[in-house]
Amino acid sequence: MYGIAHGLSYLLDPRHIGDGLPANSQSSLEEVLINSHVDDVTPIDDGRKEKLYI
């Protein structure tokens, strides 16, 4: 009944930071976040995940 935006906001809200989320839900939300478009024109940067973790 809820969407991706609800999950992402739960993950990003400093009051919750994804508290209590099952590991698989959290990792799939993180995947969505990393692969989110910054705008409607710029294509997804495949190296973004790498840059984030380095």
């Binding site: 809820y2 969407g3 609800h6 906001s9 009051r15 409607d40």
Partner: protein
């Protein structure tokens, strides 16, 4: 302070005439009782309001000061004031959805005339429906456009029907501090298919190039879900999703108003797989009949109302599928009036009249006097309580979006408590948990 002894009395008078507490005391007395040397009204008067002027002219007719005749005349309403007055009056009609015909009401005209005898202060019905409507519609549109400039917003679309039962789609923009109504389109012969929905949402987004739309919220129908797919291609950085409150409403419908569907391999239409609330569905249908009976029979209705008033109970509420929260309200009001209903239907003269009337009343009596009547109502309310709490919570525009996910994750826990109280069975609990996901 230096006081010359030979002028002591004069000095005291000068001092007292400036003394604030003394002046207050004197001013509180009637003019003929004041000391002769006291000089009142030392300061020039401020302009008084009309009400005070009338009052003072009545109370103190012998005042020595010469007043201007203008103080007693009602000032003329200038053009600017008239425009402002008419603006507020017409906006009242538009904002409250009042009939334009009411502007001709003699009491309204008399009320305005009491304050200002000028003619033509109130607009007429024709102006209200034409020139003024156009003017203030443009005015409101300009204000909305101004509010949208540079704002970060979420677009909300909702299929609706207007007072003529024509299909319309409303568009709203939810901004961080307030929501703005953007437009309402009459779709008339246009089918609400996914292409039309996607194109129209795209049109609205394009019409506000300076607004940052982060996403779009629609109803949860399969057509809308298809439209999200099309929109996601055009706007890959946006989020498209269903309305949570509408989702909760569908949840209630799936429990209390499930319909039989004929599946491909089956001959007969059936309820959804593992549907455990068939009995509850029948009970709810019966309880709707009880409410309907008391709404349609004025004698029974009046009798029930008398009993309800004496106990401070609410009137019975009819459940309407399109009106969110009415199933809960119906069960709540039936439970509040359970004893009153029992008293009425068990009266010796309740089952009477023609055979059709007797049959109808016997059925109502049977439903109300059934041993399970109260328990079924309590069970329905226990299932609806967590849903209703969320529907009420999401009515506010201020609910942080991050609270939605934990709210839904908490629903199985709520139902576990209901199950542990032996109000619902394990099968029913499992069905509700699947629905909540």
């Amino acid at each position: 302070m230096l006081v010359n002894h030979h002028k002591k009395s004069e000095s005291v008078k000068v001092h007292l005439n400036k003394c604030v507490p003394f002046c207050k005391l004197m001013n509180g007395m009637e003019e003929d009782k004041r000391l002769a040397w006291y000089t009142a009204n030392k300061k020039p008067r401020k302009p008084l309001s009309m009400a005070v002027l009338v009052l003072t002219s009545l109370v103190a007719p012998n005042s020595s000061r010469q007043r201007s005749i203008k103080e007693f005349a009602i000032p003329i309403v200038n053009k600017q004031q008239k425009v402002q007055f008419q603006k507020h009056i017409v906006m009242h009609y538009y904002a409250t959805g009042s009939s334009f015909q009411q502007i001709k009401d003699i009491h309204l005209i008399a009320a305005i005339k009491t304050l200002r005898p000028d003619d033509g202060l109130l607009p007429n019905r024709r102006q209200l429906a034409t020139s003024l409507l156009d003017t203030y519609h443009e005015d409101v549109k300009t204000k909305v456009a101004k509010g949208m400039i540079g704002a970060t917003s979420c677009l909300i679309s909702n299929g609706w029907s207007n007072i003529n039962n024509d299909a319309i789609i409303n568009y709203m923009a939810a901004l961080p501090k307030f929501a703005l109504f953007l437009e309402s389109i009459l779709t008339s012969q246009q089918e609400h298919d996914h292409k039309f929905i996607a194109n129209d949402i795209e049109r609205i987004i394009r019409e506000h190039p300076s607004t940052i739309f982060v996403g779009v919220v629609t109803d949860n129908t399969s057509t809308n879900k298809k439209a999200w797919g099309l929109l996601q291609i055009t706007f890959p950085s946006h989020y498209f999703q269903g309305c949570c409150s509408h989702g909760l409403h569908l949840f209630v419908k799936d429990v209390f108003a499930a319909t039989k569907v004929k599946k491909v391999s089956q001959v007969e239409a059936t309820y959804p797989d593992q549907y455990p609330f068939e009995l509850m569905l029948e009970f709810i249908a019966c309880y709707k009949d009880v409410v309907k009976y008391f709404h349609n029979h004025h004698v029974a209705k009046a009798h029930l109302r008398d009993l309800q008033l004496s106990a401070g109970a609410r009137m019975l509420i009819q459940a309407a599928l399109t009106h969110w929260g009415t199933i809960q309200a119906m069960c709540q009001t039936l439970l509040e009036s359970e004893w009153h209903l029992h008293v009425i239907v068990t009266a010796r003269d309740f089952v009477q009249g023609t055979s059709a009337q007797k049959s109808e009343r016997s059925k109502i009596k049977e439903i109300v006097t059934d041993d399970a009547f109260v328990n079924n109502m309590r069970k329905a309310l226990a299932i609806l309580a967590p849903i209703n709490a969320l529907i009420v919570k999401y009515q506010s525009d201020k609910v942080p979006i991050s609270e939605v996910m934990p709210d839904f994750h908490n629903l199985p826990e709520e139902y576990k408590k209901v199950m542990s109280s032996n109000i619902i069975t394990r099968q029913e609990f499992e069905y509700l948990v699947v629905l909540a996901q």
